[in-house]
């Protein structure tokens, strides 16, 4: 049997219950035949109990007991579906203002963001917030789904007005690829199947767009970065001298024979061999998990980074970071945190809050000295030892970090290096 070559696409959906986000996901799963009969039966029963007409597609994404009772999404939930062309992972995140942290979480690994706009209400503040987070987290593709087209009589004019509005404010953001699709999640128009009600729309339906958009370039394949996770030393008779540096390539391409430097020590060597999960490789690229052996015996351990000698990241203790505060407990001025960056675990201090972003207006506002849950701020951070960093815009792996509160061990902030 042939093992297919289809790629994996991760996308996030932001929006509240009213936008029809759950209905859209339910529709994608249902129309792509990813719903099993026992799941359908369970949802049909619940729909009947609640007195809904027909099947309430939104119920497919129901999660925890509290969420079902309150009818809202609290946390990020992951859904899966596959078509003959691609496998999809949906990070389904709640869109209320108080859940900015969940949106950021869902967006962190996404190739694409689906932003839902209600055709009746147009671009509202929430829409701008979602677009801002997509831009902040550097999601490569944004798809604006203008939903509930059935409620505006499938009018082209409504769709055009919304795309114009969105274009205008998005031009101030750093989003490289934006597409617009008029849909009705409830009726299935332009979700999986082309709508017969909107002949004026020449573009592809949503699923086809997701299946065909170019994503191979979403990962940086230029700057070769390899953070060492652990060292493999079998110490067996067959592999007496084997010393492999295990890790996942963050970006770029490595080949045996490449001249490399080990940071932060700066020692240089040459790649002897690269072993992948299925044996030795002629070349390896992000996001492959491999084990690298070098020609020279150098002292290397977890937290070190192997890079090409002629293309190195910046080694620095002073970082400028866009920080999203994720914890109930506000930050303390000059408090120390653990900082997790690639495979490094160091200590860090927030030295200064440069400014805050008002999530309603997206304007910069002066900081008041404390970071509260869901705040997005530009800060200056000082670390105890140098970290090997790239700018987040160019490298989502070596440009990202989280802060951990040592008193609770909780992850309290997510940062993007600017």
């Amino acid at each position: 049997m042939k093992i297919d070559n289809s790629q994996l696409l991760r996308f996030t959906t932001a929006g509240s219950v009213d936008d029809g986000k759950s209905t859209l996901i339910g529709r994608l799963l249902y129309d792509s035949k990813s719903i099993f009969e026992d799941q359908l039966e369970a949802v049909e029963n619940t729909s009947k109990q609640k007195g809904h007409e027909g099947v309430d597609l939104a119920l497919f994404t129901d999660g925890l007991r509290d969420e079902r009772e309150q009818g809202i999404t609290i946390d990020v939930a992951y859904r899966y579906f596959t078509t003959p062309r691609r496998k999809f992972i949906i990070a389904d995140t709640p869109g209320h203002i108080q859940y900015t942290r969940n949106m950021v979480t869902g967006a962190s690994t996404a190739n694409a963001a689906l932003i839902l706009v209600d055709a009746r209400h147009g671009v509202i503040e929430q829409t701008k917030r979602h677009a801002f987070i997509a831009s902040l987290l550097n999601i490569p593709h944004v798809i604006v789904c203008v939903n509930k087209m059935d409620l505006v009589d499938y009018a082209q004019e409504s769709f055009r007005a919304i795309t114009e509005d969105f274009e205008e404010f998005a031009s101030k953001m750093l989003i490289s690829d934006i597409r617009y699709i008029p849909i009705s999640a409830l009726n299935g128009d332009n979700v999986v199947n082309r709508s017969e009600n909107m002949s004026w729309y020449q573009g592809a339906p949503l699923l086809h767009t997701l299946e065909t958009m170019h994503i191979s370039s979403d990962i940086n394949k230029v700057d070769a970065r390899f953070p060492v996770q652990t060292v493999l030393r079998p110490q067996s008779k067959e592999h007496l001298d084997y010393r492999g540096y295990a890790g996942r390539i963050s970006s770029g391409v490595f080949r045996p024979g490449d001249k490399v430097s080990v940071l932060p020590s700066g020692f240089s060597s040459v790649i002897k061999a690269i072993d992948g999960p299925n044996g030795s490789l002629e070349e390896a690229f992000a996001p492959m998990s491999v084990s690298i052996t070098l020609e020279d015996d150098i002292d290397i351990s977890r937290g070190d980074m192997i890079v090409r000698t002629n293309n190195q990241p910046e080694a620095t203790q002073d970082l400028e970071v866009m920080l999203c505060w994720l914890n109930n407990k506000p930050s303390q001025p000059r408090a120390k945190y653990s900082i997790l960056h690639t495979t490094n675990d160091q200590k860090a201090m927030i030295k200064e809050i440069v400014h805050k972003i008002d999530i309603q207006t997206l304007n910069r506002v002066p900081a008041d000295g404390e970071l509260q849950m869901n705040d997005i701020c530009k800060v200056r951070i000082r670390t105890t030892k140098p970290l090997m960093v790239d700018v987040y815009r160019e490298n989502r792996t070596t440009g990202s970090l989280v802060l951990v509160d040592d008193a609770t061990n909780e992850t309290v902030a997510a940062g993007m290096i600017v």
């Binding site: 049997m1 297919d4 596959t82 496998k87 990202s400 992850t411």
Partner: protein
């Protein structure tokens, strides 16, 4: 010219290997929770690859309910021997004998819930700080919200409303004495992915997954195997059927489906055409709407 992207199975494999290596780097005494089912077999296979040519650095922990398929135990023992790994067994029978838990009564009695105590005792007794599991987010609605690195307090409990945010590939396994983590390297795999991977890698799995003749009873919409633990109801009769199992749990609760799929290729084709979820044949999930969430909060797998 070569292509610079991975197909989805390679990407999932790469992600799982990364997670397993993080476990090794961040914890003192991690184990793989091994049930003998396909998911924990795949996790073990991935662990072998993650540390090759070094040996698999994790012990395998099996929570033995005493209500096993004999085939599962034989498979477990031969795998352990091949890997040269250490096996830790937590015995539900012992927990019962010690009075830590009491056996359920009645026709539908199982030892499913009793495993929680045995598992948590085994974790504590062996000072395990990380238990790696084969749980997948597509299995069940409570699991859809599970993190890769999932924190458990010192009572072994999961607090789904207060989970640590998990961003990018930065996993925070920091914990205090007595707490532990559950880690799920194949979180993002679906049942279909697991089968496609088993086929691609030609991974050995217990014979129970392949179609075979067996004596069974029709109960709760599936074929429950005859065993010494089965209490027959009036009106129930033993049939001889060609069946196979989609998941493996206790012999008392794992229902089979009628099937002719006796090779991996045929199983993959059959799974692709399935219209029921795999846990649809597991009576442990059918006890209530939130059966899985409730058990997970207490410390279940």
């Amino acid at each position: 010219m070569s292509k610079y992207y991975l197909n989805y199975l390679d990407e999932l494999e790469s992600e799982a290997i990364y997670v397993l290596r993080e476990v090794w780097a961040q914890f003192q005494n991690p184990v793989i929770l091994f049930s003998g089912g396909k998911d924990s077999i795949v996790v073990t296979h991935l662990a072998k690859k993650a540390f090759y040519p070094a040996r698999i650095p994790f012990a395998l922990m099996h929570v033995d309910t005493g209500h096993n398929f004999p085939e599962t135990i034989a498979f477990r023992d031969s795998l352990i021997e091949n890997l040269g790994a250490r096996l830790i067994v937590g015995s539900v029978q012992e927990s019962i004998d010690k009075g830590r838990v009491a056996e359920e009564r009645g026709k539908n009695a199982t030892r499913n819930a009793l495993q929680i105590t045995t598992l948590l005792d085994a974790i504590e007794d062996n000072k395990v700080d990380c238990a790696i599991g084969g749980g997948r987010r597509d299995e069940e609605k409570a699991r859809a919200k599970e993190r890769f690195f999932s924190h458990r307090d010192d009572f072994g409990q999961w607090d789904p409303k207060n989970q640590r945010p998990e961003l990018w590939n930065l996993f925070n396994g920091k914990h205090f004495e007595g707490e532990h983590f559950r880690v799920f390297p194949i979180s993002n795999w679906t049942e279909m992915d697991v089968w496609n991977y088993i086929l691609r890698e030609n991974i050995e799995i217990p014979s129970l997954y392949f179609a075979h003749e067996r004596e069974v009873v029709w109960r709760n919409n599936s074929w429950i195997p005859k065993s010494e633990y089965l209490i027959m109801d009036e009106g129930e009769t033993i049939h001889k059927k060609k069946i196979r199992f989609r998941t493996l749990g206790d012999i008392t609760i794992t229902g089979g489906i009628e099937s002719d799929a006796d090779t991996l290729e045929k199983i993959v084709q059959e799974v692709a055409a399935m219209r029921q979820t795999e846990r649809g044949n597991r009576s442990d999930d059918k006890r209530s709407e939130t059966a899985m969430e409730d058990r997970k909060k207490q410390g279940y797998f």
